[in-house]
């Protein structure tokens, strides 16, 4: 079989490109780490600039709804303040009882502060500015300042880490809905495209839209009590054994300024 010189050149080019791609994949961590290292300062300033510009434009678009939202928040604030007073009383009471029974208080987390550098192009991953050198390792939980769960560390570089967000289709973990007398356990699964579902809840369980989903220690993936989100959609069907529940996560990637990695719990 004879090839013309043009075809031969084209085949050689393809072979070279394939070889380069194979080589780059062999040293993927080093190559990506290098690019993240040189891009970090620019990306950090771009992230900050994006945040400021979007805040500026958002204020224009939301000016109408802001008043209504403020009123609602004021009301909610009053409600929460009264709850805090009750909880503080209970905390004191709890402390006294724990001392009396000799039970130690739950240990607090050890945290490392990190900043977002970029978001993945196609999947639900973010890049943060802490890595191996800062004591970060794979599977460490990542939360916001308000103890809202973002996801877990999936890949660690020398100075950077990739965090798999809870939206990712590969993300699944045990969670519960806290009730006064009982708790409802299920599994939170990422659906991709900023959607999260709460699965394996039987049809007879009574779930309302205001219910809050928190992590449970059952699967030992995340520590107990981290906020996941609020139930947004409930779909019941007599044919299916379980309810279809959609959870609205408590965070928006655009609004996060600093996040924490739980290094010990």
């Amino acid at each position: 079989m004879k090839f013309s010189s043009k075809k031969r050149r084209f085949i050689i080019l393809i072979v070279i490109v394939v070889l380069i791609i194979v080589l780059l994949n062999l040293f993927q961590k080093e190559v990506k780490g290098f690019f993240y290292y040189i891009s970090c300062p620019i990306q950090k300033s771009l992230w900050g600039a994006g945040d400021r510009v979007s805040d500026f434009f958002e204020s224009f678009f939301r000016i109408k709804s802001l008043k209504k939202e403020t009123d609602e928040l004021k009301l909610k604030n009053q409600e929460l303040l009264s709850q805090i007073t009750v909880l503080q009383e209970q905390k004191e009471e709890n402390k006294v009882l724990r001392e009396a029974l000799g039970i130690e208080l739950q240990k607090e987390f050890k945290l490392a502060l990190a900043q977002i550098i970029s978001k993945d192009i196609s999947q639900d991953f973010i890049l943060i500015d802490k890595g191996l050198e800062d004591g970060i390792s794979e599977n460490m939980p990542v939360i916001t300042q308000q103890r809202v769960l973002l996801g877990k560390v999936s890949e660690v570089y020398k100075n950077f880490s990739k965090v798999m967000l809870i939206f990712n289709k590969k993300s699944s973990f045990d969670a519960t809905i806290q009730r006064e007398k009982s708790e409802i356990s299920g599994v939170v699964k990422g659906k991709g495209n900023f959607r999260v579902s709460f699965d394996f809840i039987s049809q007879e369980k009574d779930i309302s839209k205001e219910d809050i989903v928190v992590t449970s220690a059952l699967g030992r993936i995340f520590p107990e009590g981290l906020l996941v989100g609020q139930i947004e959609k409930i779909k019941k069907s007599d044919v299916e054994p379980f309810q279809e529940l959609e959870v609205k996560p408590f965070f928006d990637i655009k609004d996060i300024e600093g996040l924490f990695i739980i290094t010990e719990y």
Partner: protein
């Protein structure tokens, strides 16, 4: 050479812009893929005998791979195929009067 260097820097900057700046302006999670748009436009309006658009697609794909969680080669392949497809389609089936075709 200068032209290539400028384009490589431009593609790199577009990748940074897309992953760090435009994320804040996403509409239900969708961010415009600037590199893909550039590659499509470049290949649409390039003379069919030139292959600069194809090499741009490979470089652009490389930068997209770097800033994504996929193995290196995924976007190189996608953008490469896109560029080849556009070139093939335009060469054989499309005639645009105001664009000179070789």
């Amino acid at each position: 050479m200068k032209k290539i260097l400028i384009l490589v820097i431009l593609l790199y900057f577009l990748a940074l812009l897309q992953t760090s700046f435009l994320v804040h302006f996403s509409i239900s999670g969708i961010v415009p893929n600037l590199i893909l748009i550039l590659i499509i436009l470049w290949n649409l309006f390039e003379k069919s005998k030139n292959y600069f658009g194809l090499s741009n697609a490979l470089v652009g794909g490389f930068f997209l791979d770097i800033f994504s969680n996929r193995p290196i080669g995924f976007f190189i392949l996608i953008l490469g195929i896109t560029a080849v497809f556009i070139k093939f389609f335009i060469k054989n089936y499309v005639r645009i009067p105001f664009i000179e075709r070789a």
